[in-house]
């Protein structure tokens, strides 16, 4: 009992001692907390964003309602007749009629308008569980106005906040020339970014009288399989005299899964970047811990000499670390959730535009905090325990001498270098063998760890190399001291190297991709105007274009959803877009990656098809492979060419126009492209007036290019933001390391001053030392960043998205990150120097004694 209480009192004593140490040196505690906080912030920010997105895929619910069991639409993205809905509803199926369409506002911006039979949506939502969003009579939505077809649309509160800037906080929005009142409803309805109207308004507004986009079907009967339900629906329609052969049934589970699969690489990339930022943050925290231990080395020895046992000191240090990690985690968690709020709209836009996935507002979970805490604690202990043990076990006599420990660090740095070289060799070998982007990403992770490990030894070598060239006197002192400060700065430098490499690599990827995409768009787009009318208007449009003398040529495109089957392994059904274009379009606009020698004759004869590069890479399909398509049963086709496609994450198969027309596929083209010898707006106005076709369905070549680049920029904005944040974290780390180091060097600098070195010389000396190390680090980042960029482009992106990109080196981007590093270093050095020069010399000299 006595021993327990004495242990406790010793522990408390230690802790009080450490607390007063931090009271005197708040900078040390702040540096540690800052590192942990930044690490956890980025980790949680991205984690929460990713988790919410993934949850959304699983719970894609009908607007104002619940998740449907399956959806029923037309095979060819055509509309379906509303009589199908009546037949199903009157047979007792719980269904919602839905319409989706694009409308233009007065500024020509496009809005996606969703609409449904709102009463069916709400009542089906209420039916599914007791915890429903509301029953028809308890909803706070002006149903009377909506049902009577009044010009009103619903928008979620958060979306409203988001678009207030675009709409100038207006209460109305004018779509397809009709002014609509905006009704804001609570986010819990899950509208996401959708604009929701009742079907009574949407049908006339979107010119879809009597038509629906799809029907959502609910079923409470879990014993019934999806196939049984589909069979019942088909029977019901057949009995009602409706031809169900053109209908496409898609089950919600399969949609969720395919969305998960489609977006997996996107989320993995985000995860990888958040881990990178986490590691960078931990570097800072570790640096802080090490520095604070170094400063207390003498104190430890003194208290142990006075009788405190090693065990209590060790325990008190561990408790201190746990407390710091806990506080840092709490702060990081809070800021991280805030960051996620900020990132989510960005991610939502990317996912919606790239994959058509809708994101719902999500809630944060406690277990995220626990996960972050456990991860940070484990990482902190793994990093710090060896240091704590060696410190506490230092012989009392030796510890008191406050040895610079340089020898020890030299050994560590050499070891790190050897490990790094081994890891690099391993990666080089493994990269030649990988075909999976997950493996490549893991190897990239190893590489990212290996690169900074190279740094301290490289710095030593460079300094050693330079030593003989330095003039005698002060410069020799400078170079000798530079060697000394490599060790305390090493960790911060490693963190900044990591961030620089990642940044350079990402910039290279984004820049290269943009150039590739622009080139591809230039080649791919040959017509002046691209029109995708409602399917029932296509004949009238063809006629109208044929009668316009200024129209040079009309090109046609057909598209259906299909499934590709490898002829040898009939069980693999790959979802693809099946496309055909006229011969001229195909020869003029397809950018081939590779073709067989006799491609065009076999293609025209209907024996071979071309497939997009993403399809080829994702499913390892090569030239000469035999494939079948779900609409062309028992017709085996050969892959004759692979073409570049950067516009579509889904696979695409192109067949020749004659083969399309012989096959049981929709005869009418889905879109037309026109070359025109006059003012393009004249043609657009003409089409708008004669066919009552919204300009939303017409794209000029320029508009496609602009929008493609806009989407591209938005797609990568999230990665660029994360990278910048990582760089910011590293810069903060460098700043805090430099501040601490410069403060620690007050005494030696004061001594030099006392010996007659002028203040200006001292300032230049310190700045040169620091800049030298930072610039060396930036130089190391140049080839290593390029290497990472190369691997990101030629391995990870190629494998994950199936996009071949020509790597383009961007010097401007490189210089930009170097400038950021140099500026943060200069600030970090100048600030403490300035503080120091304001203090009397004696107090600086006393630093050492204190």
């Amino acid at each position: 009992m006595t021993s327990l209480s004495s242990t406790t009192s010793r522990l408390v004593l230690c802790l009080r001692l450490f607390a007063s140490h931090y009271r005197h040196a708040p900078l040390q505690a702040s540096a540690i907390l800052l590192g942990i906080m930044l690490a956890v912030t980025l980790l949680i920010g991205v984690y929460a964003t990713n988790e919410n997105a993934k949850q959304s895929y699983g719970n894609v619910s009908e607007l104002l309602s619940k998740q449907a069991r399956l959806t029923l639409s037309h095979q060819t993205q055509d509309t379906i007749d509303e009589s199908i809905y009546f037949a199903l509803a009157n047979a007792g199926f719980d269904t919602i009629a839905s319409i989706e369409g694009i409308a233009t506002d007065e500024q020509g911006r496009l809005w996606r308008l969703s609409s449904s039979d709102i009463i069916a949506a709400i009542s089906n939502g209420a039916k599914q569980d007791a915890q429903s969003t509301g029953s028809v009579i308890s909803v706070n939505i002006p149903l009377a106005e909506l049902l009577s077809g009044q010009a009103k649309v619903l928008m979620s509160q958060s979306q409203r906040d988001r678009i207030n800037k675009v709409t100038n906080q207006s209460q109305t929005i004018t779509l397809n020339k009709l002014a609509l009142d905006i009704i804001t409803i609570d986010d819990h309805w899950g509208l996401g970014s959708a604009l929701l109207a009742d079907i009574s308004l949407a049908q006339p507004l979107l010119n879809m009288q009597g038509k629906l986009s799809y029907i959502a079907v609910f079923s409470a009967d879990n014993a019934q399989t999806d196939n049984q339900l589909i069979a019942r629906l088909t029977d019901t329609l057949t009995q009602a005299g409706i031809d169900a052969s053109q209908l496409h049934f898609s089950t919600q589970s399969s949609e969720g899964e395919s969305l998960n699969a489609l977006t997996a690489s996107f989320h993995l990339n985000l995860d990888a970047m958040s881990m990178l930022a986490f590691v960078v943050g931990l570097f800072i925290a570790y640096n802080g811990v090490r520095y604070s231990l170094m400063k207390r080395q003498k104190l430890f020895v003194q208290i142990m000499q006075q009788g405190l046992d090693r065990h209590s000191v060790m325990l008190a240090l561990s408790i201190e670390l746990i407390l710091l990690v806990f506080i840092g985690c709490v702060l990081g968690f809070i800021v991280g959730l805030q960051l996620s709020q900020w990132l989510q709209p960005m991610v939502a836009i990317t996912l919606e535009q790239l994959y058509g996935a809708k994101l719902l507002p999500g809630n944060w979970q406690w277990h995220w905090f626990v996960q972050a805490l456990v991860l940070t604690l484990s990482a902190a202990f793994a990093a710090c325990i060896p240091m704590l043990i060696s410190l506490v076990n230092t012989p009392l006599a030796q510890g008191a001498q406050k040895k610079p420990q340089n020898k020890q660090f030299n050994i560590i740095h050499r070891r790190q270098f050897v490990i790094a070289v081994l890891l690099l060799l391993l990666c080089t070998l493994a990269f030649t063998l990988t075909t999976q982007y997950r493996h490549s990403l893991a190897l990239l992770g190893i590489l990212v760890v290996a690169i900074p490990l190279l740094l301290p030894q490289c710095l030593h070598w460079v300094v050693n190399f330079l030593t003989p060239f330095m003039p005698k006197g002060l410069w020799q002192y400078v170079i000798a001291e530079t060697k000394e400060i490599i060790a305390p700065l090493a960790l911060a430098m490693m963190a900044i190297l990591l961030a620089l490499c990642a940044n350079i690599a990402m910039n290279t990827l984004v820049g290269s991709f943009e150039v590739t995409l622009k080139k591809w768009l230039d080649a791919r787009l040959h017509a002046d105007l691209y029109i995708r009318p409602n399917p029932n208007q296509i004949d009238a449009l063809v006629l109208l274009l044929a009668n316009d003398t200024k129209v040079d040529a009309v090109y046609e495109q057909w598209t259906v959803d299909s499934q590709l089957n490898r002829a040898e392994t009939p069980q693999t059904l790959i979802p693809v877009h099946l496309v055909s274009r006229d011969h001229i379009s195909l020869t003029d606009t397809t950018v081939f990656k590779t073709t067989t020698d006799d491609f065009w004759p076999t293609f025209t004869a209907g024996q071979s098809v071309m497939i997009s590069e993403p399809l080829s890479i994702k499913y390892h399909l090569n030239l000469g492979d035999k494939v079948e398509l779900s609409q062309l049963k028992e017709h085996t086709l050969t892959i004759g060419a692979i073409y570049y496609d950067y516009g579509n994450p889904k696979g695409e198969v192109i067949m020749s126009q004659p083969l399309w027309q012989q096959s049981p596929l929709p005869a009418k083209p889905i879109s037309l492209a026109v070359t025109y010898q006059g003012e393009l707006t004249t043609l657009q106005n003409n089409i708008s007036q004669q066919l009552n076709l919204s300009s939303a369905y017409m794209y000029s070549q320029q508009r496609i290019k602009t929008e493609a680049i806009t989407i591209f920029n938005k797609t990568f904005s999230i990665t660029v933001v994360l990278n910048s944040l990582t760089l910011l974290v590293a810069a903060i780390g460098l700043f805090s390391a430099c501040v601490m180091l410069t403060q620690a060097r007050q005494a030696p600098l004061a001594r030099l001053y006392a010996l007659g070195v002028s203040r200006n010389q001292l300032r230049i000396m310190v700045i040169v030392q620091m800049l030298f190390i930072v610039i060396l680090t930036c130089l190391v980042a140049l080839p290593t960043g390029a290497l990472l960029g190369y691997l990101l482009i030629h391995k990870v992106t190629l494998q994950a998205f199936g996009w071949s990109i020509a790597m383009i080196w961007d010097w401007a981007a490189y210089i930009q990150v170097v400038v950021i590093a140099v500026v943060s270093c200069l600030l970090a050095v100048c600030l403490p120097l300035y503080w120091q020069t304001r203090k009397p010399l004696i107090s600086s000299l006393q630093q050492e004694v204190l």
Partner: protein, 379 residues
């Protein structure tokens, strides 16, 4: 007799009670409903602009079987006491409501799209046995292909639930309801004249006659048909009762809820009796009609004969919805009726959008028989 949530918490909202399909609502609109509940959100808060119930108006048949879209709320309501081939007593309920969400002159629709409407339909169905109470609810907007009331032949439908007559009259007709775990298909016939409740169909809901509805019934319906529960189909036969009611002006602010009975007595007469509960015993309003197969009948109410009708709960049951009086003593001195009623299944909560208690009952005392009870405002 149906009710939507005569709930104390949000009784400011509209309350529909099916006193033999009687619908009452608070006219108070000073505070918005806390739970943003009820039809009051859909229909305008007051009855302004809707047609009013006028004393002395003569009901016209078959026209008045159809919908009265100029009134705020209306219903077609059938309860049946049936026996299966195995001798099990079951109760069956079907109600279709029509709700006019805006007054008739508010909706200026060019009828260019059939989806545009100001009419909303809701239907409830139930099969109740002593051991089980199966319920279902359906909603739809008014749309000729989804939910409507058609005069020729007379048809009341909400998707695949429907009353379909062979002519423009109510009977003979077939009533079909299909739900996931139960369904029924009943053949309904009746030769008896319709019974106009209250003053020739003008049914007051308060002593001062400030609120009223149009209300008529057919308490003498013969039923044969089939019911299916959990996939097991059985033949049934028995008696049913139809109520028709429409109005735009509902419960007074003071009224708390509703106890309504449709009773089939063993002397071939029937009795409709209800109590509208005020804040105190003295504020209750009682009304009844004793009806005979030849179309004759006698009205009794607490305004004209203050102590003639006595209704006392004798047993209470805590259900999922609230504490409900499931057994009663009912005495009407002028009709020499002194009976007790007992719920066949005390847990007959209708847990739908507008929850209430509704189920079959048995009758004992001076008369024996079966009937239906509806209780509102106890949740």
């Amino acid at each position: 007799m149906i009710l939507f949530t005569a709930n104390k918490v949000y009784k400011q909202g509209l309350v529909i009670i099916g006193l033999s399909l009687l619908l009452l609502a608070c006219t108070q609109a000073d505070t918005p409903p806390k739970k943003t509940n009820t039809i009051s959100t859909m229909s305008a808060q007051s009855s302004d602009g809707y047609s009013e119930v006028i004393k002395g108006k003569t009901l016209q048949f078959p026209q008045d079987h159809s919908a009265h879209n100029d009134f705020k709320i209306e219903w077609w309501y059938l309860t049946a006491n049936l026996t299966t081939a195995k001798g099990e007593d079951v109760g069956v309920q079907w109600t279709q409501f029509r709700i006019g969400m805006t007054p008739p002159d508010v909706l200026q629709t060019a009828n260019d799209n059939a989806w545009k409407t100001n009419q909303l339909y809701m239907a409830h169905a139930a099969i109740t046995s002593p051991n089980e109470h199966l319920i279902a609810e359906k909603w739809s907007r008014g749309h000729p292909k989804l939910a409507s009331v058609n005069p020729s032949p007379f048809q009341v439908r909400l998707q695949n639930w429907q009353w379909l007559s062979q002519s423009n009259e109510l009977f003979p007709a077939q009533l079909s309801v299909h739900h996931n775990n139960f369904r029924y298909q009943l053949q309904l016939t009746s030769q008896q004249p319709l019974q106009l409740q209250g003053d020739k169909g003008f049914s007051s809901k308060s002593a001062d006659q400030a609120v009223a509805s149009y209300y008529y019934s057919q308490p003498f319906i013969d039923v044969t048909g089939e019911i299916t529960r959990h996939g097991v189909t059985e033949k049934v036969s028995g008696k049913a009762w139809l109520d028709r009611e429409w109005s735009s002006q509902f419960l007074t602010k003071a009224q708390q809820g509703w106890d309504w009975f449709s009773l089939r007595l063993n002397d071939d007469s029937t009795l409709m009796v209800f109590r509208l509960r005020g804040k105190t015993e003295q504020d209750h309003f009682y009304s009844a009609r004793r009806m005979y197969a030849n179309g004759s009948g006698r009205n009794i109410n607490s305004r004209d004969n203050p102590n003639d009708i006595e209704m006392q709960p004798t047993q209470w049951q805590q259900t999922a919805l609230g504490k409900h009086p499931i057994a009663w003593r009912i005495r009407i001195n002028s009709e020499a009726i002194n009976i007790t009623t007992q719920a066949s299944n005390p847990n007959s909560d209708m847990l739908v959008s507008t929850p209430y208690w509704e189920g079959p009952i048995t009758i004992d005392g001076t008369h024996q028989g079966k009937g239906y009870m509806e209780l509102t405002g106890y949740n």
